[in-house]
Symmetry: C2
DNA sequence: CTGCATGATGTTTGCGCAAACATAAAAGCC
DNA sequence: GGCTTTTATGTTTGCGCAAACATCATGCAG
């Protein structure tokens, strides 16, 4: 899995034959030892002010950039944080990644990003690629699907945060919310408004573990009132706005008197809503539509979708802090963080 | 800039005191030398089939994951590709990043992602963080703003691709399109339809170099017909859908007879279009609206925006191939790739 | 059977840095 | 002033791996 080809000029030489500047070069110029340069970079307090100034000057003159690969090898800490998302398709995780980078970058860490895709093989390949870089921490926004993958992570001993979900059996740490409770809450909200013939649209199986949890919540909420579920969906991923018309047709064909639809994703809800409008169905008069995620599209584009809002950015920030905390040796008091959710009612219900 | 804190157990030991598996361990178990294990991983053809099988078995049994940091240090190639975006806010570059990762991952490279934000200091900090990891290549989707940053990159000798733009003076390689030409083409398209009092909304200065290029194109197209420009905007970034109402007000106040608006971004165009609808203005009858970028929101959400479509994914794929090509020693024939653009007319004009 | 490729493996060394230890100088202390 | 403690710096060593070179078979032509 290592790069197969050979770079043109990364043999330590630049294009013009110069060798890359090392600590030794800086040290020689400043008239100190290599170790003192290292100290100026990592623990400046332990170096006399005058010496520090000379070294800093030398570094500036030579435009020295420390080699963190070498440093990491020696110190046994790479300064890398691995982040695993399932796909770039839906921008669900962008906020989380943004919050995560901003949090860990301030401490000098960099982000190693990978998309596992929907193939199991890809998932393991990616984990190997990330673990091989010896990250100091890993954030999983994607769900792990194989026992082997789980095994690999646990065996690595790396700090791990599972995000966007509170797993019943976490690998290590976790930041997220209870998808089941969220699905139940949204369904309950629809019931409170007065809807009784509520359909659910979303993944029916396969890889979308979280969507399935939300569906479970939907089932529970209906069961509490003794109402039968009406489920429509597909196991194929990813589901998006383009599936709206087909799913709407299916709902209306199988459950003609449906008065509300709860979609496992906003993109899906947007698709249903637009399809309904196009068919001349009054929303929410004839059919109410609710989504999940409060992804950017939802509100401002005039769809004004009732949805469940998740603090995506906060998840990323918390995940970063969990990792930083774990690395600071002070034992963390709480390693499972529930950021909750919020049912936001807008004009689509 | 190095991580300030100390990890709990990355001293080469796992939590339970086990040492991390190394090549030596695999070698011992397979009854070969460490070097033979290295060969099995990188150049399996150079190892006898029987030996290879033994080594592979040993690796599997020990769940060995090669340390690419150490390997990179020895081989002077990190297997990392640095990617610099300006912000996660707009999902503009998600497709490009996706195309890039998919391209380079097949060759065993991993992505090091960083957001430079809108601060110049952040830009340099990020470059240091990335260059310090000794990437084999860097893709810039963000524009470079300081001479020092440019200097740093050139001095590093790393292969560089500037994406989403064909700079007049590229640092190294580039994949993108001519923003000026695109702005001109869209304006010309509006003129061809028959609009004559066309306003432009977008960045008026500051960091959004590409937006300014598109504005330049707008000016040229109008000047060719002897029409005066009508420009509205702000230097503050980022501009988004929420700025729609204010900009629409400004347009109608300063240029009441405007019949079309060309926005430097789809998000902005969406904001203007929605604001116009809310005011009861007929789109495109009273006011036509055109955007730029064909970002996901545009079409399916019912806005049906006329826009300029850019092959964002192709940009990422090309960028990846440029880097891989540069690293394969075969001299590249073409290092500046223009992916062009496409004016897409929809119902908003 | 010699000689010389060719293939398969082993040995040595160093990538650039930081941990651990060693030393030297300065600063307190009675 | 001799003593310890503290502060500032230097020296040695090794992180885990791959490049370069060395070695040892084996094959095979003449």
């Amino acid at each position: 899995m290592a790069p197969a080809t050979d770079p043109g000029y990364s043999d330590g030489m630049e294009k013009d034959g110069r060798r890359r500047t090392r600590m030794d070069d800086v040290a020689a110029r400043a008239g100190v030892s290599q170790m003192t340069v290292s100290r100026v970079i990592r623990t400046p307090d332990k170096v006399a002010a005058a010496t520090r100034a000379r070294v800093n000057a030398a570094m500036a003159e030579l435009a020295y950039v420390p080699d963190m690969l070498a440093g990491g090898l020696a110190a046994r800490r790479s300064g890398l944080i691995g982040a695993v998302i399932s796909t770039f398709e839906n921008a669900i995780f962008a906020e989380t990644i943004a919050g995560l980078t901003e949090t860990v970058e301030t401490e000098g860490f960099s982000l190693l990003l990978g998309a596992s895709g929907y193939s199991l093989e890809g998932e393991e390949r990616l984990l190997h690629a990330i673990l091989g870089r010896r990250p100091d921490g890993i954030v999983l926004t994607a769900t792990l699907h194989t026992p082997a993958a789980r095994q690999l992570l646990v065996g690595s001993g790396v700090a791990i945060v599972e995000a966007w979900e509170i797993p019943s059996d976490p690998v290590d740490m976790a930041v997220g919310f209870d998808n089941r409770a969220a699905g139940q809450a949204m369904t309950a909200a629809l019931l409170d408004i007065g809807y009784r013939r509520i359909a659910f649209v979303g993944a029916t199986g396969g890889r979308d573990v979280r969507g399935l949890r939300r569906r479970d919540g939907y089932r529970v909420a209906l069961a509490e009132r003794g109402l039968p579920p009406r489920e429509v969906g597909s196991a194929a991923l990813p589901l998006g706005i383009e599936n709206g018309p087909a799913f709407l047709d299916e709902i209306l064909a199988r459950f003609p008197d449906t008065d509300a639809v709860f979609c496992s994703l906003d993109a899906l809800a947007a698709g249903i809503l637009l399809a309904a409008r196009r068919r001349g169905l009054d929303v929410p008069g004839r059919l109410a539509v609710a989504g999940f995620g409060d992804f950017a599209i939802a509100q401002p584009s005039g769809l004004d979708l009732t949805t469940v809002r998740i603090a995506g950015r906060a998840i990323g920030v918390h995940a970063g802090h969990l990792l930083l905390g774990r690395m600071s040796k002070v034992p963390l008091e709480e390693t499972i963080i529930d950021v909750g959710f919020e049912v936001v009612r807008r004009s689509s219900t």
